[in-house]
Structure formats: structure tokens, C-alpha cells
């Protein structure tokens, strides 16, 4: 029997409208605050070349100046300078840019690919076993170790760190997507679609992917925070970008040996990472609350 595209007569439940969940999101004050923080940080990072008071790579003789609010601080360097005399504020602005890029690219590529593989596994019983066994193998490999191996193989670069984080994100997302996909595949509308003779591609895209999308987005948004933390840890270990490019984890590492004497060099980038990850996690939680029908009904 040949498969034909027929008008769908048994429509699956559609995701709720964007406006509706957006309204629900805005009713949560914590979510609004987290979104504002994320938006503010993202804008500051985006406009770093215009906002940064100094060239982030330019050293000076003003070594380890404390932040402006300290006794010895000056308004010339609001967040102080590092051990090379570089302006910490400028480096944090540029560093945040890179940290966000690493988080977005790592969680986006890895999460996207993992989600796709998980849904394929849920959709095709034939591919389920092989895909999930590979995911299991990847899960047993710590992200830091994977990062070390990739950097050793391809050298120290932004691409290497994103690749490591993306690969590390695949198995987690694949597992979640398979779970979500399997429960969707048990729904009657899938059976109805198949009974109507819809193409596999149509069922996969219109029925499975569309209905799994909200759950997957929530997971990927929460994964974003984890990716930033792992990326910062890799940079802290010296596996991240090349100097003099600033990245928050790397900046925290650079202040490690002078922590007793100039704690701001490590504390300021570490706090920035903390705020970004916290805001991302709160946003992820809020997204789950508004997108998950079971949470909504509580």
C-alpha cells in the first residue's frame, strides 16, 4: 500500500499559543527577574566593543588595582585590573560574550543533535537499541575528560571547546528526548495518523517533534547553564581559548594564585558565571512550569 499525504482528520493536541505561555511566564516574578538579568547580560556582552572602557587585551602598569568600591580603588578601573594590568570590567564584558556563545553553541548543537537522535530512537524501534547504547557509552565518559581528549587531538581553540561541550550534551539530551518521544508515540493520535496512512516523515515532524518540542526546549535551556559551568571548568583547567582572549572561566583561573591578595580577579568573573547560570536555571524552571500541562494544572 502506497503512502499518501491525506488531510489530517485526527489532529494531535497542538501546543498552546506563544502568547498564552508568554503571558503565564510574565506572571512569575522570579522568571521575569531572571529574564531581565539574562537579557541585560546578553545585551552587555553583545555591545561589549562599545561598552568596554578599555581594550581588553591591553596591559598597563596599573597591576592588580582593586575595584572602585575598595579603599585603594579608583573610578578609572571600576572593577579593578588583573595581574597584567588589564581592565577587569572590559575583560568581563568580552568574556561574557564568549561564555554565552560557548553555552549557546554547546547546548544548541549538542542538545539539538541529541534531541533528534532521541526522537529517532523513540520513533524507530529498529534504531532505538543502537542509538541508546551509543548514548550510554558517551554518558560514561566525563565531559572534562572528553574535553581533554578533544583539545589534545585538535589543539586549544574555541571550536575545540564547543565541540567537546556539544558532544558531551548529546547523550543526556538523547535520553530525555527518547523518554518524551516514547510517551508521545503511545498516544492515540499517533496510531490514528498511522491508520490514515500518513508518511513517516509527516508523523515524525508534525506529531512527534512538534509535541516534544516544548519539553526539549525546557531541557536544553537548563542544559545551557550546565554547559556554561563545564565550559568554565575546562577554561579554568587551561583547555579553553587561547590567551589573550578573555573567557570567564579562564579569568577565574588567572586570579587563582593571587587570590589572597587580589581576590577580585577571580571573584568577579566567578560571580558573573554564577549569575548567568542561576538566571538560566530559573528561566528553564519557569519555562517548564508554563509549558508542561501537568505543572500548569497544579
Amino acid at each position: 500500500m502506497s503512502q499518501v499525504d491525506l488531510p489530517v482528520t485526527a489532529e494531535p493536541p497542538q501546543a498552546t499559543g506563544t502568547a498564552a505561555w508568554w503571558r503565564r511566564l510574565l506572571r512569575d516574578p522570579m522568571a521575569v527577574l531572571a529574564l531581565l538579568v539574562l537579557a541585560g547580560i546578553s545585551l552587555a556582552a553583545l555591545f561589549a566593543p562599545w561598552l568596554a572602557p578599555y581594550d581588553p587585551y591591553l596591559n598597563s602598569r596599573a597591576i592588580m588595582q582593586p575595584p572602585a568600591w575598595s579603599d585603594m580603588g579608583t573610578t578609572e578601573y571600576l572593577l579593578g585590573t588583573d595581574a597584567q594590568g588589564r581592565d577587569v570590567l572590559s575583560r568581563v564584558l568580552y568574556g561574557t560574550r564568549l561564555t554565552l556563545l560557548i553555552g549557546l553553541a554547546g547546548a544548541g548543537f549538542g542538545g539539538g543533535l541529541g534531541a533528534l537522535l532521541g526522537l529517532v530512537a523513540a520513533f524507530s524501534p529498529r534504531l532505538d537499541g543502537p542509538i541508546m547504547r551509543i548514548a550510554d557509552m558517551m554518558l560514561s565518559l566525563p565531559a572534562i575528560l572528553l574535553g581533554l581528549a578533544i583539545v589534545a587531538a585538535v589543539g586549544q581553540s574555541l571550536g575545540a571547546i564547543i565541540l567537546a561541550l556539544a558532544i558531551a550534551s548529546i547523550p543526556d539530551c538523547a535520553r530525555i528526548a527518547r523518554g518524551v518521544g516514547t510517551s508521545i508515540m503511545r498516544q492515540e493520535f499517533i496510531e490514528a495518523g498511522q491508520a490514515l496512512g500518513l508518511r513517516n516523515r509527516t508523523i515524525f515532524v508534525r506529531y512527534l517533534l512538534r509535541n516534544a518540542l516544548s519539553s526539549l526546549l525546557v531541557y536544553i535551556s537548563m542544559r545551557f547553564g550546565q554547559v556554561i559551568l563545564i565550559g568554565a571548568a575546562l577554561s579554568f583547567l587551561g583547555l579553553g581559548v587561547r590567551p589573550p582572549i578573555s573567557e570567564l572561566g579562564m579569568m577565574a583561573a588567572q586570579g587563582r594564585d593571587v587570590f589572597l591578595f587580589a581576590p577580585h580577579i577571580s571573584v568577579i568573573p566567578s560571580l558573573t558565571i554564577f549569575v548567568i547560570v542561576l538566571a538560566a536555571n530559573v528561566t528553564g524552571d519557569a519555562l517548564r512550569d508554563v509549558l508542561d500541562p501537568r505543572m500548569r494544572s497544579r
Binding site: Q84, G155, R242, P243, Q254, F259
Partner: protein
Amino acid sequence: MTSKRNRLALATGALLCGATFAAAQNVTIVRELESNNYDPQKTSALAAAEVLYMLGDTLVAMEPDLKTLVPGLAESWDISQDGLTYTFTLRDDVSFCDGKPFTAADAAYSLNRLADPETQSPAGWRAGKVESITATDDTTLVYQLQEPYSELLFQLTQSFATIIDRDNVAALGDNFGVTGLNTTGPFCWGEWKPRDEMVLTRHEGYTWGPSVYENTGPAQVETITWEIVPEANTRVTALLTGQADLSRSIPYIAFERFRSIPEFQINKSDIAAWTEYFGMKMDRPLMQDIAVRKAMNLAFNQAAMVEDIYYDEVIPATTYMSTTTRDWNPDADPLVADYDVEAAKTMLDEAGWIAGDDGIREKDGMRLAPLFYAFTGSAPQARVEYLQAEMRKIGIDIQIDSFDPTIVWSKLATQEYDMYQMGFAYMSAGDGLNLYCRSENMPPPNRMNWDDAETDASLDAAMRATDDEMRALETGEVIMKVSEAAVWIPIYHEPISIVQSSRLKPVMPHSIQGTGFYKGLDIAVAE
């Protein structure tokens, strides 16, 4: 009742006094790095040397000036007219930690082991071209050379030449220097927990220490514990809280704080026999141009870096080695260019290196962006990032690839990079030049690929020289050559700085091999 209380108080007091006395007899030194073994002939690690000097003895000992030789296990020595035969008369009152008497046979075995190619000692070349090393009786050792070797006595003061017990080597096999080491030094092997601590115990019968010290033995403390503390902040805290007594690996940023606390003192050596430098591979396309190498020297401000990053605790290096070094050639002093950014820019302009849109220079389609292989770790990273920032000001974009200590040495043995960073200890100018400038030592340790027949000939002539003047002359020729070619950017010369608790008497810094404490015979609790 009162009498019972008094007795209790006395007993408690006695216990406390006993505990304090016991603690006083144990000294803890914190350090950053660990060695992978303590086999004297098979390791060149600084971390091994600083322990080996306390564990063992050498035939000849060295004063802190690194110029004056004094008797060690050898009471005296005689050199033949042709410079080929060294006859050592050894002490007859020396014994190993296990009580076995020391004889010339042990010395012959140890030095033959150093020279034997089968040992694969990283310091084998330091033994010279050996014809034979033989014990003619229990107290006489004859060291026969194929050709004169003017550095021999100096080399025999180093940790590689530590005298060991051949029975101990046979008994321990591959575990020699790992699970134990029977030696004649002021301290004996206690317990080694790799990457944690090395405990040394006093060699009770030791009385043959070199005249470098007022106390020639036994050692004045019962145990010395070398603790590995990789984090600089933790080392500082360990000293401040009394968990450690002394260290020579305290970051310079902490010195001001230690100087302000009466319970601590900092002792610095009079000489600076450790030099850090940036090296350039002469035959790489970007580094072939002497204008590039000279411009980089012009644009690097050693004085500012030392003031800003090293708080003036080290000496800005405007020479390839410290000018107080034996056989240094003062004619080379002005050869490292003074800081002048504008002159550096002009030099590059004239050499055809033109700045592109992003400010980085190019020539014949080559971007002036040398690849730099660096060590991870905050101190080396700080140095290389400083260089990078300075070079950007003249349009050179240094690309830094950093590697963990476990892989950096293998990366530095390749020919795939343009620049690197290294530090080294030396006893004489010839010591450093033989290591780094001999063509047979390419690629490591001659990582700049300095391949020059005249240099080899001069170094050979200096080695064979039988008088000090000739040796200094030949060595001086090489110093001039490499300085003129601008193969390095010297960074700083570093004296040894020991930070110590005033619970101890002042400890004299000793620069031999960059170690700091030498035999530790002056480590004592203050009264």
C-alpha cells in the same frame, strides 16, 4: 589533695614540654613540585635535586658563591699536568645510613653509573669523556679522562654525582630511588608518599659535612618533611598558620606580607644563578629574520615586568646569564637591546614587515604571528601573556598554545613551534652554553636549533682548557655569538629566596642547581 593537683599539673606540663620539644625537632618544608624518582643518576628534576643534596654527599662540595670548591667525601684531589687524571683521596670515617662503611669502590660505582650510556642518565655528558674510573684502594679514586675537562670538579658537586650504595641498587632494582635510597648524607630516607610528602630522618653518625657550614654534623633537627603543596595560596597559608616552617616556593606577591610579620624572615642568596628566557627557533620562517628577533628584544621591557609582576624580587635580565657567573664575558653585556618600542617598529618597517588593517605585520604573505608553546600554570602564563601584550604594541601577534606539564616536554621536543619559554640553573657560563648551544643537543635542549660549527669548536676548546683564562676566553666567544644573534629574550635572573619562620635559626640560601637548602645542616630551631 593539693599535692595530687600539683603532681597532675607537673605531669601535664612535662607532657606539653615533651610535645613541644618533639614538634621543634621536626621541620616541614613546603614546595610546589614533586619528582618521579630519587635515583641521583637518573633524574635531572629540581625537585629531586633539592632532596638528594640532603640525602647524599658528593666527592666535592660547593660554597654558596658557586665558584669555590671545598672537600666533600674527598679530603683532597690532585690533577695531572695534562688534565687527564684526577686522583681523589677519600675520607675513611664515612658510613652509609644503614651503617655500611663508605669506600672508594662505592664512589667508583656511582660515577661509572653516571657516565655509563646504559644508565641513560640525563646528566651523563656532565661526567666528561671518561676513560676509566677506578678505586685503587679503599680511600683512593682515580678518574681518568680521554681529554681534559675543565668543568669536572664543578660537575662532581652536583646531585647527579651523589655517591650511592651499589648493594642497595642491586637489592632494590627498579625500585631504587623509589622505595628507598641508602646514602651517606646528613639525612636518611624515611618515607616517600609520592605527590604528598617525603620524610627524611637524621643520620645520627654524620660528622663529615662540608666546611660550607659551621655545623658539619649531625643535622640539628630530627626530621625534615618535604610537603608537596601545588597551590601557591595554600603554601602561603601553610607558612602563615605554622603548618610549615620554610619554603623557597612562595609567590613574590606574598613577600611584603611576610616582611611585615615579625615571626617570619626572608633570606636571599647573594647570587642569581637561575635565568628565565624566551627562546626562538632560528630556522622557523618567522624567526629566521634577525630583525624580528632583535625587534622583539627591543620591545620587551624586562625592568617594567620585574617591577610589576615580580615586585622587584628578581633581577631584570639584560644578559643571557647573570654577570656574576663564572666565565661570563662582560663584552656581551650591552648586546641585549635596551627597551625602545619606536626603534623596534622602525626595525620591522625597514625589514619589510608592514602592518595590516588589524595592526599585525605581514611580509611576503606571512603574518607575523609566531606560535608559542607554553607551560600551563599561572606563573609561566603570566610571563608569556606579558610578552604577548608587549609584542602586540609593535604588531606581532603571538599565538599561545599551553600544555599541561605531563605533555609539554614532548611538545617542546618537536620542531612545530616558533617560540618557547625556559628557566635553567647554572654554575658557570659554560654550564648553560654546553646545554643549550651545542648542535648535537638539537632539538632539546637546544630548542632554538643553534647549529654553528664555530660554537661547537669553542665549547670543545673551553671544555679541554687546562687553565681558567683559556676556558673563559673560549666560553666568552660563544656568549658574544649567541647574544649578537638575539636567539633569546632574557627575562630575569633569580636569586634563591627562602621564606622561613623565626622559630628556626636563619637558613642560608644556596643556589646550587637552583635548589635552595643544599645539605640542610644549618636548619635548626632557634633557642
